[in-house]
């Protein structure tokens, strides 16, 4: 491998660092641990780059390494990924008696409660913007499985947020000064 090839590989990894880090953060929701995962991913990617097929999708390849690293550690350390310190729950409680409308805290709490396999698909497809094919590659499963997880994730997310329709999103009607319809 020439020096230029090493530099080129380094540049390509650097370009994808923000995405790797965001994905790692979304998976484990712990900034320090996410950085560890990214570091391990970079080391593995560097050592095994001869196994990367030029012309294939580097981002998907890196994401798969990161995800596999995370899942291996999860099994090994029995790391509790589902809001271990109830941090989000506490932050929600501290907001007082607000209606459970859809704001970011509600959303993040609901997202944290999703099974890991559903959450990662939502993040990959819905946020990172990878295709179903790429998501299947990253998660090591069939495209149909990804679609099914995506669908179940959406339904579960809505259940967790208590949302039954799009009109549930947004600020309180009371906050907007709208009148409640009298039923009497």
């Amino acid at each position: 491998m020439s020096e230029n090839a090493g530099l080129d590989w380094r540049t390509r990894l650097l370009e994808l660092l923000p995405n790797l880090r965001a994905f790692a953060n979304s998976l484990c929701r712990d900034a320090d641990y996410a950085d560890d995962l990214v570091q391990q991913t970079l080391l593995k990617a560097w050592k095994s780059r001869s196994s990367f097929h030029e012309g294939s999708n580097l981002k998907a390849w890196l994401f798969a390494i990161l995800r596999n690293t995370f899942l291996t550690e999860l099994r090994k350390r029995k790391y509790e990924a589902e809001d271990p310190d109830d941090e989000l729950q506490n932050s929600l409680t501290s907001r007082g008696g607000q209606q459970a409308h859809m704001d970011m805290l509600d959303f993040e709490l609901a997202l944290s409660k999703l099974p890991q396999e559903q959450r990662e698909v939502l993040i990959l497809v819905g946020a990172e913007g990878v295709s179903y094919d790429e998501a299947a590659l990253i998660c090591g499963c069939a495209v149909g499985t990804i679609k099914s997880r995506m669908s179940r994730a959406r339904v579960r997310l809505c259940e967790l947020m208590g949302v039954v329709g799009a009109e549930e999103f947004g600020p309180d009607k009371a906050d907007l000064g709208q009148n409640t319809v009298a039923t009497s």
Binding site: L13, A22, L43, M104
Partner: protein, 54 residues
């Protein structure tokens, strides 16, 4: 008609999907925009240097 589609429901579902998508993107954007610590670039530079030396 018994087999009428329910366009209002479909529209609501589409809106719901859009809202979820918007929230997801917002959630992810905050993570994407976090400043990167130097340690990653340092690690890659060290790896590249070691490789160049060997």
């Amino acid at each position: 008609m018994a087999n009428d589609p329910t366009p209002e429901r479909s529209t609501a579902e589409i809106n719901l999907d859009k809202m979820i998508g918007d929230r997801l993107k917002q959630y992810y954007a905050t993570r994407l925009s976090q400043p990167l610590p130097d340690k990653f670039a340092d690690l890659l530079r060290d790896l590249a240097n070691k490789e160049a030396e060997s």
